[in-house]
Subunit: 321 residues, 2 copies
């Protein structure tokens, strides 16, 4: 959520010469995205986001993200395109970092979604999954079920128990449960894997863009729905479940994408898995980020509360009917 | 250079209802300014900067800044206006902080200025000083000549000498010199006091806006010119003086503002004073900012080199003729 690499307008103007993008008239570093540097760029022709990839995004993954967004855009989904230069290239370097010029989309990320907004987001997610049925590039999910036990071990028992007494054992038991119940033979596809309200641009109750695909990977659609459900249907602390948002999200999703029966049967496992994934990465960041760092540490227990909620069969029945 | 207070679009939409400013369609936290939180706000009607004042700006000073920018705008100077709401108010609160909606101006801040850009900046500064002849509100310069010895003492001798051996004594001697040579009876006026290239928006060689007036105060015009000269006419390290930028800056300034003879005679003292002011505040920040903080520490010695340069009478003769 900061600008890591400072760019002057001279560098950006030179960069823009590669594109048929007009001349620079405004340049602002923006606090957006995770561990990338992003600039709002306005030219005499249009507006763009200029992204410099810092440490977290592996440049080798960029072709996957490019292909994914192009496929989605061509299928009519609302996502920002990577802009191609005069020769068709979409990847350059600036200040020694891989850099892409990306379409600027209007819209804001709501922090207190309503049911209509959840429904529109569910619909956009369903449209996305439908559109990706014929998308074939793949990228492993480095934060998927196979990674969770190792992530817990990197946090160490004492680290986890320092966050909340007994957390290490609880996570170990959850890993056991999820590893034994995780579906083995469902079809996989490309998923967003991080569709928090932050990553959905809206105007009123309409979705104007799904953004920040840098966790996108190949996994089960139902897991993507579960991540989105856990991100949208609670207060931030995870202590209050909002059934109206849940109903909206699922209604929107089901309208555009027909889940198969095995996926539907596995949803309760996916919901718990989604919680464990964010619980673990938040624990890892909590343990490895100094309390006084400028980066805001997100409370891991907000995801333990969600995990508790989804582990109760009565709640699952109420959600899925 | 970061966003300290996170705002959701719901808060900003509610805030905008106070104004005749249209409906929110984009909201981006921007990395700009010193210790304020700034948002780029686009509405169905226009674009704005929303500034939340954090710790560094005293809310009691805001009426001075408002009056200054209004006066300058009414006089035809290119500065961003504070936007007034439906009832004429320009100051509100959001998320518990004083907040103002400010005009958005096109233009970029050059990092490698050319002579024409320096001339345009000198002209804008001269126009500003001319326009302020009939501006009467005042604000003390808390970083002026009277503050320098105390600032040096807050840095401590060991702190200063840790930056560069002998620096403490050098600064003490410079304080002696400046306190005894600083003019006592020149007329004062409102000055920008921080007109670095960062704070000038340009399109090509034209100035489109002077911005970031939060150090503006009452002091000598010649001191403002000196601050600008020291900020524009060297490489960032202060090791290379650019005579073409100096000539451009002074030519532009003199075209729009007629310095009186005593001011002209005091310029060499003002130039040394400008260097000491930034040397001292950079020393203070250097000593009080951890090396691993996300805030970039600026090299104090870049201003010691400028001070050395301006302390040589031959250089002053070459600059001022």
């Amino acid at each position: 959520m900061a600008v890591y690499t400072h760019l002057g307008p001279e560098q950006v103007s030179e960069f823009l010469l590669l594109y048929d993008a007009g001349e620079l008239i405004s340049l602002k570093g923006i606090a957006e995205g995770v561990e990338n540097s992003n600039y709002f760029v306005e030219t005499t022709k249009s507006r763009f986001i200029l992204t410099l990839y810092e440490n977290r995004v592996d440049p080798a993954d960029l072709p996957f993200f490019y292909a994914l967004l192009k496929h989605l855009h061509d299928a009519g989904c609302k996502v920002p395109r990577f802009i191609v230069d005069r020769t068709g290239k979409w990847l350059h370097a600036i200040a020694g970092r891989p850099a892409c010029l990306i379409e600027f989309l209007h819209g804001v990320s709501v922090t207190q979604p309503n049911a209509a907004q959840a429904e529109a987001t569910g619909a956009a997610l369903g449209q996305m999954h439908a559109a990706l049925a014929d998308f074939h590039p793949t990228r492993p999910n480095s934060l998927g079920v196979d990674a969770w036990r190792a992530l817990a071990s990197q946090c160490t028992s004492s680290g986890l128990n320092g966050i909340s007494p007994g957390l290490s054992e609880r996570i170990g038991t959850e890993c056991d449960y999820l590893e034994s119940h995780w579906p083995k033979s469902l079809p996989v596809g490309a998923i967003h894997a991080d569709l928090f309200p932050d990553n959905v641009l809206m105007l009123g109750d309409q979705v104007t863009g799904l953004i920040d695909f840098y966790f996108a990977c190949t996994d089960f659609c139902g897991y993507d729905l579960a991540v989105t459900h856990s991100a949208w249907c609670f207060n931030p602390e995870g202590s209050i479940f909002h059934p109206d948002l849940s109903d909206g999200l699922l209604t929107g999703y089901n309208r555009h994408f027909a889940m198969d029966v095995p996926t539907r049967d596995a949803l309760s496992v996916f919901l718990r898995g989604a919680c464990l994934r964010f619980l673990l990465t938040r624990c890892y960041d909590w343990i490895n980020t100094p309390a006084n760092a400028m980066v805001t540490r997100k409370d891991p227990l907000a995801y333990l509360r969600r995990l508790d909620f989804y582990s109760d069969k009565n709640n699952i029945s109420a959600i899925l009917g």
